[in-house]
Amino acid sequence: MKKLFLEFLSIFLVFSMLAACSQTSSNEGSGDSGSKDGKKRFAIVFKNTGNPYGEKQMDGFKQAIEALGHEAILKAPDQPTAEAQIQMIEELISQKVDSIAIVGNDPDALQPALKKAMDQGIKVLSLDSAVNAQSRMVHVNQADPVAIGRVQIEAISEMIGGKGQIAVLSATSQATNQNAWIEQMKETLKDPKYKDIELVKVAYGDDLRDKSVSETEALLKSYPDLKGIIAPTTVGIAAAGKVLTDKGLKDKVHLTGLGLPSEMAEYIESGVCDWMYLWNPIDVGYLAGYAADALVNETITGKVGDKFTAGDLGEKEIVEDGDGTQIMLGDPFKFDASNIAEWKEVY
């Protein structure tokens, strides 16, 4: 009988431990049974845990929601899959939250779950990575694809003096975001202003550090006259920065694109990359927080032309996006030698 007792005891210990840690975690303010104090509860579901970019986005969301006097629930599954997000949406429906903001792992697969949430009166919006138009009321777009494509071409043109061969180092060949931006870059290049710039190749580094490095090296070998590289992905631009630094190609081959300030500070300070762009993930989350609040207050319904005030970001208007609607954060933010020191601490 003694061992039986021991077994029970050990199991009980495990469970009391988990009860204890769950108690503390809910006290920390991510919040569980919030409805008892009458606060509204706003949830955000990111793609997966342990992603610094996602942490910043959730921080921004939390800032906005708490500034409005509500309670924020931050969730992210351990695997970046749609099925894990469906489970989280079900959990949030059971908790009867007021709103769900989602960074989708799949544009279509979340539709049944998000529809179920909307049927129960929960306001649903997506941010950053969109879900399809039927599964959301509005989407918060981190940046206008047209603007992203345009500013990068403008930047590289300025860097290389409006003349010469350029190449693009992208993520995977199927990445929706990157493909849309590259499409916009090609559109921009049609402008007679850029007639002396030739886009020689789009290489794919698959967002893997080593593959991006070898793709960059291959570009430099195949195109000895290459003047500039645009890498519209954070992994790619950092890998390209490393290669250009190692090969001492500063000022011979110019680099711009979309990068994380903390990873790129080294190259911007050394001048390998003159400047680059990115949106601020904190602002994306922050805007989503205010948009969620406006949906719950019914200040907006997600129709084109609806307007609301998004805290420090000022007034925002809902615009068309294919068969759905979206809110634009604005032009991407420029990081150069003058501001990189300040931003590398942030993200």
Partner: protein, 336 residues
């Protein structure tokens, strides 16, 4: 076929079984969850929660058999992805959905059959290695078919599988209970099931006593493929579309449920009911912790701890026995 039959029936022995421990754990989980979240004890919420975790649970049944056979199958999640992708791709090519569903099941069966044949033909390779290879191959094929795209927009009725109710009970729950009864009977009440235990306890002896070890292994692995295809049906229905990276990591969830259910990784021991309780135990634990928005990592730690307990406790028993009194019989070793 089991230790209970070998000895005269004793109530103490009956209640000392791991399955009771699981039921107790299950109750503890529910009591804790109820205290943690005011939203837990809600019949609609609990009912709908079963719909989120039962899809992968269909693979638990054949996995119990495979682990009793001393084997393991880590390719099941890739089989899910391949079956799902083939079905969705054929449907978008214009094949009627009914036929696509049948083909989905056939793809699962073929994947399982290939595993079984490889394991039987190449005895020097362990099942881990064989299914590790097919795990990569099956998912690779899924990626070749759909690349990184998703496919979907299935007909209305297909959504019923994952989201529908019959008389207020989720269809997936009804299907799960029916399958549980079928597999429970197959394992515990048929010659086929008894032979699985016999092989698990001693494959060599079974072979020499005329048990068709290879045939049984092939059948069990094929069943695993078919059940993976059934998981694919429910999962695809719930998601409304599919892509080659669905069901990532499902094999580990399934193996965790089986091990927690008291099925010995050394083979020959364990009951279907244990794994079934474990399915609900992990499912409701996840749901309850999800309701209080526990970070995903904490959840994984808790499930890991539970697994250690599950593996540890059965190992404590024989030792305690040896200390207490001289061993009367090696009852658990030579069952079947």
């Amino acid at each position: 076929m089991d230790q209970v039959n070998k000895k005269p029936f004793s109530w103490k022995g009956f209640f000392l079984q791991w399955e009771w421990m699981l039921i107790l754990l299950f109750l503890v989980v529910n009591v804790i969850n109820t205290n943690l979240s005011p939203f837990y004890l809600d019949s609609v919420g609990l009912r709908d929660a079963t719909m989120t975790f039962l899809d992968k649970a269909f693979m638990v049944f054949p996995m119990v058999m495979i682990m009793i056979l001393r084997d393991i199958d880590i390719s099941v999640s890739s089989t899910v992805a391949l079956a799902s992708v083939v079905m969705a791709h054929l449907y978008t090519l214009g094949v009627p959905m009914e036929l696509a569903v049948v083909i989905c099941l056939a793809v699962g069966a073929v994947c399982g059959l290939i595993n079984g044949l490889l394991i039987v033909k190449f005895k020097e390779l362990s099942a881990v290695i064989v299914t590790l290879s097919t795990m990569i191959i099956y998912r690779g094929i899924a990626y070749i078919i759909l690349e990184d795209q998703s496919a979907g927009s299935f007909p209305e009725w297909f959504g019923f599988l994952g989201w529908g109710y019959i008389g207020g009970v989720p269809f997936i729950l009804i299907a799960f209970v029916m399958m549980a009864v079928l597999f429970g009977l197959l394992l515990h009440k048929t010659t086929f099931g008894r032979r699985i235990y016999a092989i698990g306890n001693n494959p060599t002896a079974s072979r020499f006593s005329g048990v068709q070890v290879d045939k049984i292994k092939i059948i069990v692995f094929t069943l695993a493929g078919v059940m993976a295809a059934i998981t694919a049906l429910f999962l695809t229905s719930r998601m409304g579309s599919t892509r080659p990276n669905v069901a990532l990591g499902y094999e580990l969830d399934v193996i965790a449920m089986v091990v927690l259910g008291g099925i010995s990784t050394a083979g020959g021991k364990g009951k279907m009911i244990g794994a079934i309780i474990a399915v609900f135990l992990i499912g409701f634990l996840r749901y309850g912790l999800g309701l209080i928005n526990m970070p995903a990592q904490v959840l994984m730690i808790i499930i890991g701890l539970l697994l250690i307990v599950a593996v540890m406790v059965p190992n404590l028993k024989p030792k305690a026995k040896a200390k207490g009194k001289p061993p009367k019989s090696q009852d658990q070793q030579i069952a079947g």
